[in-house]
């Protein structure tokens, strides 16, 4: 039976607003970026409409591909470190009394209010030779003289993880709060120590949540473009830095757009592969 026209329109009415918003602020800008990535650059000027693959061709060089690989590596490592630290921390927060949980969550949310700029410069000061943590270690007689830890790869990772950590906890918190407290207790009565309970019951139950969080932090970290410049050396600059550089300082929007599209495709493909692997494994189990 076919519904009358008017009522069918009414049924879809609630979807109109989100559709318009999504189209206006997501699909249209993305389409423009896609179009620009094929446009022809006018050296010293802007760009003119056209269809050429020159921008993508330029990207496929060892320098840019190397940067792409490094970007994926940094984002992946950040996601893994965040989950390794964040999952146990979130678990212990959810096991705390309600009032202490609130204190922790307020603290983590306040970290979110710090911008990437502030986090970047704070870490660079903390890791500097003149005013950094190494001075504290010298004062404690653990080191001979203060050293500079920033810029460098370790400094970059510190900043990246600091940035991703609150998100990790926020995403895992609702899922872990819902854990039936009797599940770990059941494992205890069956002879599993608290540590074994954590690895044999709690972690496996949250496999999906863990995978989802890793993907989120990975994608989020790919877009970070300030920290590599503040905390890293030029060889630690990620693709996001190069995109910013091309778009703003070199005025080469077509090339910036091409890199952005490429980065997006590669990260989407990686996320897709991860999800497929997860599903295949579940089917096998």
């Amino acid at each position: 039976m076919r519904a009358p026209r008017a009522s069918r329109a009414a049924r879809y009415a609630p979807a109109v607003y989100p559709t318009i918003m999504l189209g206006l602020f997501f699909v249209v800008p993305f389409a423009i970026m896609l179009a620009v990535s094929f446009a022809h650059r006018v050296p010293g000027g802007f760009y003119e409409p056209g269809f050429e693959l020159a921008n993508y061709a330029r990207f496929v060089s060892s320098f840019f591909l190397g940067t792409l690989g490094f970007s994926l590596f940094v984002a992946g490592l950040t996601a893994v470190i965040c989950i390794l630290v964040g999952f146990p921390v979130t678990y212990f927060i959810t096991r705390m009394p309600r009032r202490r949980q609130v204190v922790w969550m307020v603290f983590l949310l306040s970290v979110l209010s710090l911008s990437e700029v502030i986090i970047g410069f704070t870490w660079s000061i903390l890791l500097s030779r003149t005013a950094g943590l190494s001075n504290l270690l010298v004062w404690l007689d653990l080191m001979d003289k203060p050293v500079s830890w920033a810029p460098g790869f370790a400094a970059l990772m510190c900043g990246m993880c600091y940035l991703g950590f609150p998100y990790t906890v926020l995403v895992l918190f609702p899922a872990l709060s819902r854990l039936d407290p009797e599940l770990p207790e059941a494992a205890r009565t069956l002879g599993a120590s608290p540590l074994r309970t954590f690895f044999t019951v709690i972690m496996p139950i949250y496999r999906n949540a863990i995978v989802a969080t890793v993907i989120m932090i990975f994608v989020f970290s790919l877009g970070v473009y300030l920290l590599p410049q503040v905390l890293g050396r030029p060889q630690h600059w990620t693709l996001s830095v190069l995109i910013t550089d091309q778009a703003i300082f070199q005025s080469n929007l077509p090339f910036a757009a091409a890199m952005a599209v490429f980065l997006m495709m590669v990260s989407l493909a990686l996320v897709g592969v991860t999800l497929l692997l997860g599903r295949a494994e579940r089917r096998a189990a």
């Binding site: 009797e182 059941a186 205890r188 002879g191 608290p194």
Partner: protein, 351 residues
């Protein structure tokens, strides 16, 4: 002394005494029910036995060994939880074999033991299924099989049947009791359902507000409750205020009644409460004379076929009488009648 013993066990949550000064002995091989209304501390007591909660005071002894400080994972007590707590990421077989795997038992042995246990709980051939594919009653059995996998010293159950529908619950009660008798493991079950406790246990521990109110075989607790709480909580009971008149006699609503026995320490003039089970109360036509009768008025008759409940008003106190259909009193709402309370069925409790 073999079996489990609790000595002065106490647990407070803030200002609330969840369990206060519990002294209990659970001899080997018996089936115990911890019975009481919600919030009476029965689950807390079970968790203290399991080692999931540390008591604030007192000792837990197993065969005279102090196990108060032994953590839950070293006690080897099987426990079935209220939510069943089956691991959602494992199959039925993996759930049952979890404890064996922790103990590094070989795969083949695990598999064999798992089949045996499923046989024991009458659920063979589901080892490879996922927990989510089972019905409520089947999950129940899997949870029991898992708790029994390590041949535990003690089998603990925390209201495991409360999630089942009434019919299945009754079946499972009988089955659980038979299972316990087959394997002979000392069992402690927490329940708020007195019928469940009566069906299954060798001994019932009635708890109220963190205290042990009475311990005894089910029928003893039913027939001679130790106080008004037990009388009221176990089954239904007619509780009437009374005053001790002389040896073997009490006064209720101005009428002298003969009673079989008086508790120690109640002299003439002492306030007391009498408890009479509804099935012991007989409703008689107004004219009949005799001992132990109170005048009353019929306020309501509920005839549900299998039994007849007569609600009576005796000097402002409600008294309920239950009779089988063939003993149905020939009375109607509003009739003035005599209510007979046989001396042998009156339990006098200190008020």
């Amino acid at each position: 002394m073999s079996g489990l013993r609790l000595e002065g066990v106490e647990k407070r949550f803030g200002a609330i005494v969840a369990v206060g000064d519990a002294h209990l002995h659970f001899p080997e091989g018996q089936f115990f029910c911890l019975l009481g209304p919600s919030g009476c501390g029965k689950t807390t007591l079970l968790r203290i036995v399991a080692g999931l909660i540390e008591p604030d005071a007192g000792r837990v002894l197993l065969d005279d060994d102090d196990i108060t400080d032994v953590p839950a994972h070293r006690r080897n007590f099987g426990m079935v939880f209220q939510s069943l707590a089956l691991f959602p990421h494992l199959t039925v077989g993996e759930n049952i074999a979890y404890g064996l795997r922790i103990r590094k038992v070989e795969r083949a042995t695990r598999r064999k033991r798992c089949e045996e246990l499923l046989e024991l709980v009458r659920l063979p051939g589901v080892a490879d299924r996922h927990v989510s594919q089972l019905s409520g009653g089947q999950r129940q059995r899997v949870a029991m099989a898992r708790a029994l996998a390590l041949e535990p010293r003690l089998f603990l159950l925390d209201e495991p049947l409360s999630a089942l529908d009434a019919k299945l619950r009754e079946d499972m009660q009988v089955e659980l009791r038979q299972l316990q008798q087959r394997i002979g493991v000392t069992t402690i079950l927490v329940t708020h359902d007195q019928r469940e406790a009566m069906t299954m246990s060798d001994r019932v521990v009635v708890m109220n507000e963190g205290r042990v109110a009475q311990v005894g075989p089910p029928l003893e607790i039913y027939r001679s409750p130790a106080n008004t709480f037990v009388a009221d909580f176990i089954g239904t009971s007619n509780l009437l205020p009374a005053v001790v008149a002389a040896a073997g006699r009490v006064t209720v609503a101005g009428e002298a009644l003969a009673v079989a026995a008086l508790p120690d320490g109640l002299g003439p003039g002492a306030e007391a409460t009498i408890s009479v089970r509804p099935e012991s109360v007989h409703v008689l036509p107004d004219s009949a004379a005799g001992e132990n009768r109170l005048p009353g008025r019929v306020t309501f008759v509920r005839d549900v076929g299998v039994s007849v409940e007569t609600y009576l008003d005796c000097a402002g106190h409600e008294v309920i009488s239950i009779a089988s259909p063939k003993d149905r009193p020939d009375v109607r709402q509003g009739d003035r009648v005599l209510v007979e309370l046989p001396a042998a069925d009156i339990v006098v409790l200190s008020a």
